[in-house]
Amino acid sequence: MESPVTIITGTRKGIGRFLGEYYLRQGHRVIGCSRSRPEWSASGYEHFLVDVTDEVAVRELFSVVRKRYARLDHLINNAGIAAMNHSILTPIETVHKILQTNVLGTFLFCREAAKLMKYRRYGRIVNFSTVAVPLKLAGEAAYSASKAAVVSLTEVLAREFAEFGITVNAVGPTPVETDLIRSIQKDKIDHLLTRQAVPRLGTFDDIANVVDFFFRRESGFVTGQTIYLGGV
């Protein structure tokens, strides 16, 4: 059986890298991308230097995948940026960047992936939202709004792509122990955790578990859903 082909955005480090290595171990061919060079490489992994908001570059990436593999089984829209700041202190340029990367980037990859997936009438797309959406976290207005848009995109695209055998779902992680979290005051993180049913930081494995569920062939009847972690 041919290896499934999986595209993951934002694989330079963190959860993107983790998922890249995780699905390589599962026998996938993994294509990753980021704006700058990754900190890792592996057999079966191919990296593209692509800004997810650059339509021409994104289309080129998919063109290469189509010519090389003639298939795409999975897409994980992991690339995203956050900015934690009071809205009154947030420059409009920051808002633009967040919306461009998180919303426009996700839309572009979904659109191009669907074009490729529809030929085999099969595909699994997983987008990234966040618990900041249902928790309505103060200090994350632009980030939270962008990830709410990702939920909405997920729900609508699920309906548009269902005809082609493609499911579109989203995972909403809790804070995970990453570089991003280490820069936030501990009492703020602790307060956030008290709002979860399971009050602990998430792990990369928690996220991979949800992605695995969405990826399963048996999950073809599951689409347009967002699973928030931690019982939020």
Partner: protein, 102 residues
């Protein structure tokens, strides 16, 4: 071979693929050649069929002519006469895009 003929051949080939895959219930009357209606009052493609046809034409043009174009952009959607009426109107539209006149 001029550009218009090349584009027409590519689009007609995609239309024939759609016709063949439909197995008797073809949405495109390929026997009418360039005058075959695609989408609209006379066309047999429904909205999802049009989406699939547009994607197939974009990919065929990239593969066979080495040119990346986006067919369903604001220009196409805002034209008074849709470029997706017939194969001929679509050929005109694609040639216009490739020539940079649209």
């Amino acid at each position: 071979m001029d550009k218009r003929t090349e584009v027409a051949e590519v689009i007609l080939a995609v239309a024939r693929e759609f016709h063949d895959e439909a197995e008797g219930d073809s949405p495109i009357a390929v026997a009418r050649g360039l005058q075959a209606p695609l989408y609209g009052s006379e066309g047999g493609l429904d909205s999802l069929g049009l989406v699939s046809f547009i994607v197939a034409v974009e990919q065929a043009i990239e593969e066979r002519l080495g040119l990346a174009i986006t067919l369903a952009d604001e220009k196409a959607m805002s034209q008074q006469n849709s470029p997706f009426r017939t194969i001929a109107s679509l050929v005109d539209y694609v040639v216009g895009l490739l020539n940079g006149t649209l």
